[in-house]
């Protein structure tokens, strides 16, 4: 007597599943890589994007000087040249984030410094520039208008 192999039709074998721990590590690694790449991308956009409010050479001598006054010069220098500085926001650079940052710095200084020379004039003029300023660029300073107008 001889034994013959018998083939029985059965379900297709499943590939072995990834153990839960390994799957978790892979997902965590992918998440970490995504966060890293997103961060780098965001940093690049921050530097090069139009919303950047840090000074950097622009190739425009006037704008470089105004940006220096806005965020690098001593606050006393900015306050002394406020009429010159503020005159360029409505006329020439209405949406420059660095210049608006300087306007905010000036507002804080005027509000805090009771003995400032020409304080009322600086405060009223600054309030007018903010009020008439670009709705988006000046948005963060609008809350200062009432404080500036209250200076008499």
């Amino acid at each position: 007597m001889r034994l013959e192999p018998v083939y029985v039709l059965g379900p297709k074998p499943k590939p072995p599943s990834i153990p839960t721990r390994r799957a978790f590590l892979i997902a965590a690694g992918a998440f970490g890589a995504g966060v890293g790449l997103g961060g780098v991308g965001g940093y690049v956009l921050e530097i090069d994007g139009p919303t950047s409010d840090s000074p950097r050479p622009t190739g425009d001598v006037l704008l470089d000087e105004l940006q220096r006054l806005a965020v690098e010069a001593p606050i006393e220098e900015l306050a002394a040249r406020y009429a010159f500085f503020l005159s360029f926001i409505p006329s020439t650079y209405p949406r420059d984030a660095v210049l608006w940052r300087g306007a905010g710095r000036l507002a804080e200084y005027v509000i805090a410094t009771e003995r400032l020379h020409d304080r009322r004039t600086v405060a009223q003029w600054l309030a007018q520039v903010i009020e008439s300023g670009d709705p988006v660029a000046a948005a963060s300073l609008r809350s200062r208008i009432s404080q500036l107008r209250a200076i008499r």
Binding site: S87, P90, S91, E131
Partner: protein
């Protein structure tokens, strides 16, 4: 009166009056703003400019002359007339 070496004008005027400024440089125009985009006014042959005050407005008006880093600015206050 107030002024710079390029521009002279009043410190304050009454609402409805005109702001009379004198340009001491060779500039042909002055720019006037109430805080928003400026308006240009031509300088007369005698170096003087008459700027009407905005109707119903009280506050400050900037008058500037010169370009870029050579700009000079004065602020003129527009006050309400005494009752």
């Amino acid at each position: 009166m107030q002024g710079t070496n390029k521009l002279r004008g009043p410190s304050a005027v009454v609402q409805g009056a005109t702001i009379e400024v004198e340009v001491l440089s060779q500039d042909k125009t002055v720019e006037v703003s109430t805080g928003g985009p400026p308006t240009s006014y031509p300088v007369g042959p005698d170096g003087k400019v008459s700027i009407p005050t905005p109707p119903g407005f009280t506050g400050f008006v900037s008058v500037s002359v010169g370009h870029d880093l050579n700009r000079q600015v004065i602020l003129v206050e527009i006050v309400a007339p005494s009752p």
